[in-house]
């Protein structure tokens, strides 16, 4: 009986092929796992990403002002946003495994920052850029709506009810 084996196929070659396929399988595995319903730790990932965008210095970090909670709330209200954030976080996870062989949450901060830089640079058509852009925008909307973020800005809060009776004078540059 004839077998239609590839010309050089042999048991040894088969094992070699299997080993070569392993890294590809490892890259794909998380996708398959997540596709099958294994979930990213979305809240934890968001907290880390947000605190990279808005870290703590003289003023609190993003999570220090509850920005993560606001964004998680937005996820629940807007389906398209949830999809965008999930895809974005999935990208970070996949990239982390691809470049560093570990999960994003286990990376060093400098490595996490590096991935953020990659997302930012990936350009308009890339879904990770859209996620980066949306997250950055929302981070700043929620962060700078909070009075505790204004320390250090020459900004004392909403324009009413006091207005700016000194508008025609040189501004006094002191912290808000």
């Amino acid at each position: 009986m004839r077998r239609n084996r590839p010309a050089n196929a042999s048991r040894r070659n088969f094992v070699k092929l299997a080993f070569c396929a392993l890294p590809v399988f490892r890259f794909c595995a998380p996708v398959e796992l997540y596709a099958q319903g294994a979930s990213l730790d979305l809240p934890s990932m968001l907290r880390v990403l947000l605190d990279i965008l808005v870290p703590k210095d003289a003023t609190p970090s993003a999570t220090g002002l509850g920005v993560d909670i606001k964004i998680l709330d937005k996820l629940e209200r807007y389906k398209f946003y949830k999809v965008l954030v999930k895809k974005g976080c999935l990208w970070f996870e996949q990239k982390s495994i691809h470049l560093y062989k570990v999960s994003f949450l286990k990376l060093k901060e400098s490595e996490q920052i590096k991935l953020m830089q990659l997302a930012e640079k990936s350009g308009l058509r890339a879904p990770e850029y859209n996620f980066f852009r949306a997250l950055r925008q929302d981070a700043y909307i929620f962060y700078y709506s909070n009075p505790h973020s204004w320390t250090g800005l020459v900004y004392a809060g909403p324009p009413q009810p006091h207005g700016f009776p000194d508008f025609h004078q040189k501004p006094i540059v002191q912290v808000g």
Partner: protein, 557 residues
């Protein structure tokens, strides 16, 4: 109740008409499609979410207009594309993008969110056909309107410097001008270096307490609604002064059509009230004041056997001659703290190029003014998202450096009518009441584009003369339709062949119909804000309308 007049729309024209007619002793019904706004409650300027709240839109209606296909953007005009240093091009496509027609449906109309500029037209821009053989002449003169400008300024409470050499004044402004903000003082210095002037703008914001309203406290956010009532929007001025026993105001009332009848008279108005009930109401006279897009839409939707081409459209001009604001804004970071979140929007202005001959190679002028507030760059969220690039600690540090340093200078120019800009009824789409929506067809000519280039160059020159750190954002109407001021679609004129209304805003044919809004403007002017002219025109026209009603020139209904 029987009404002498029904006014449809409560913006600058409708409010001033209702005021004038009720003051003259007539019984008026004012129908407004949108809701009333409570300045103390509805405007968000005292809350932490003020910056993202913008002007609060309380309407629940579906959009009633859309856009026709926009023109292709040409490579040779790449420098006029709108961009931001962080986000790139605002419009990533190769076709002009319809963003929106910026208006308010509410009691007071678009004056509720207007910047508060109070301008008289340059008399030289009212005779473009005679003097330059372009556009159309106004059938009224500046002199005809002058005393009504005075009246409107007194009712609104306009603060200005009464030294305008171009626009003759019989009386000074009722209020002294506002001081220039610190930022505008710096701009003035830069302009002087360039041989340009930068002067105090005339504003419908009180520089002193006036007429029971407080003076402005310079919060710099007129476009988000004024909770103090110091901005002279129509609701706190004209509508607050209507004679209550003679003027009935109904909000939430959406007029579907007027009913043209026999003997060239309108028989009545059909509207849906705020409870959803269909109502037919009659008056001796009908005044339409819905703005240059809604007014032609209403007229075209009012066709019947007596007006087969739409009401008052015997000339074919209803919806034609659509004019928009051609505008440009350049935004930069100054090299020193200016506190630009403070003051009044557009407090300083350059009128040097406002006359029709002022811009080389084109007919029609422009003005340049402070635009930081109109660019929505007075709060930390917009700084974080548009001004300061990057993220992380560096972003926070840059925020502390940059806040209060943004200065934006904008320009608005005259547009001349062209046959590719018009408003028509949509052939397919209808609103929630089954009435065809309006479709806006907007086209910029080469002359319009030349004016945009002129304004872009001038704003950049001024910012350079200020020695700014960098220009970080620019946007204009070359690649995006985003207009608040629209005009021309029911233009006034001497001849019934090529205009819709006469010099008194009365229909050439229909004996009890007037139109009193910017749709009657034959021209835009050289960038002047239109509300004061609309109000003056309404006061002027309503004196004639009153005489015609009282003399019973129209058959009793």
């Amino acid at each position: 109740m029987t009404y002498d007049a029904i006014v449809v729309g409560s913006g600058a024209g409708g409010a001033a008409s209702a005021y004038q007619l009720s003051r003259l002793g007539l019984k008026v019904l004012l129908l407004e499609s949108g809701p009333a706004y409570n300045p103390t409650v509805d405007y968000q300027l005292h809350t932490n979410k003020w910056e993202m709240a913008m002007f609060p839109d309380k309407t629940v209606r579906q959009p009633w207009y859309n856009f026709g296909k926009m023109q292709i953007l040409e490579k040779q005009h790449e420098t006029l594309r709108s961009w931001n240093h962080i986000h790139g091009l605002h419009n990533q496509t190769m076709r002009r993008l319809p963003v929106r027609y910026s208006h308010v449906q509410g009691l007071g109309g678009s004056t509720l969110h207007f910047t508060g500029e109070a301008h008289r037209l340059n008399p030289a821009s009212m005779k473009l056909k005679t003097d330059y053989d372009v556009g159309a002449d106004w059938p009224v003169s500046y002199e005809d309107l002058e005393q009504y400008y005075v009246q409107a300024e007194n009712i609104v409470g306009v603060a200005g410097a009464s030294n305008d050499k171009v626009r003759f004044r019989s009386k000074p402004y009722p209020l002294p001008p506002h001081p220039l903000s610190f930022a505008s003082q710096k701009i003035a210095t830069a302009c002087n270096k360039l041989g340009l002037s930068w002067v105090q703008n005339s504003l419908a914001a009180l520089s002193q307490p006036y007429d029971g309203r407080p003076k402005c406290n310079y919060c710099n956010n007129c476009n988000r609604g004024c909770p103090r009532r110091d901005k002279g929007s129509a609701d706190v001025t004209f509508l607050a002064k209507v004679v209550p026993s003679r003027c009935t105001i109904k909000t939430g009332c959406h007029v579907l059509y007027l009913k043209p009848g026999k003997n060239d008279q309108i028989d009545g108005v059909h509207y849906i009230d705020e409870m959803g009930k269909s109502v037919f109401v009659q008056a001796t006279w009908y005044i339409i004041a819905c703005g240059a897009i809604a007014t032609p839409r209403l007229l075209l939707n009012s066709k019947n056997k007596y007006a087969p081409d739409g009401l008052a459209n015997e000339s074919g001009q209803v919806g034609r001659n659509f004019l928009e604001s051609i505008s440009w804004t350049s935004c930069a970071i100054a090299n020193e703290p200016l506190g630009t979140q403070r003051g009044l929007p557009a407090d300083g202005i350059c009128w040097d190029f406002n006359g029709p001959e002022s811009i080389p190679g084109v007919v029609g002028g422009c003005r340049l003014s402070l635009a930081t507030s109109e660019a929505s760059l007075t709060g930390p969220i917009n700084y974080a998202n548009r001004v300061v690039s990057g993220w992380g600690i560096q972003h926070k540090q840059q925020m502390r450096h940059a806040f209060g340093r943004v200065v934006a200078i904008g320009g608005i120019a005259e547009q001349l009518p062209n046959p590719r800009s018009f408003v028509d009824l949509d052939k397919v789409q209808v609103d929630e009441f089954g009435m065809p929506k309006a479709t806006i067809y907007s086209h910029l000519t080469e002359m319009d584009i030349d004016k945009l280039k002129f304004m872009a160059n001038k704003t950049r020159e001024i910012l350079q003369a200020m020695d700014v750190e960098a220009i970080f954002e620019e946007y204009g109407t070359y690649d995006r339709f985003n207009s608040a001021h629209v005009f021309g679609t029911c233009r006034m004129g001497e001849s019934a062949q090529d205009s819709v209304v006469d010099r008194f805003c009365c229909s050439h044919r229909w004996r009890n119909l007037s139109i009193v809004d910017a749709s009657v403007f034959p021209g835009t002017g050289g960038g002047e804000a239109p509300s004061l002219t609309i109000e003056a025109l309404a006061l002027y026209a309503c004196e004639t309308i009153y005489r015609r009603i009282v003399r019973k020139d129209v058959q009793d209904l």
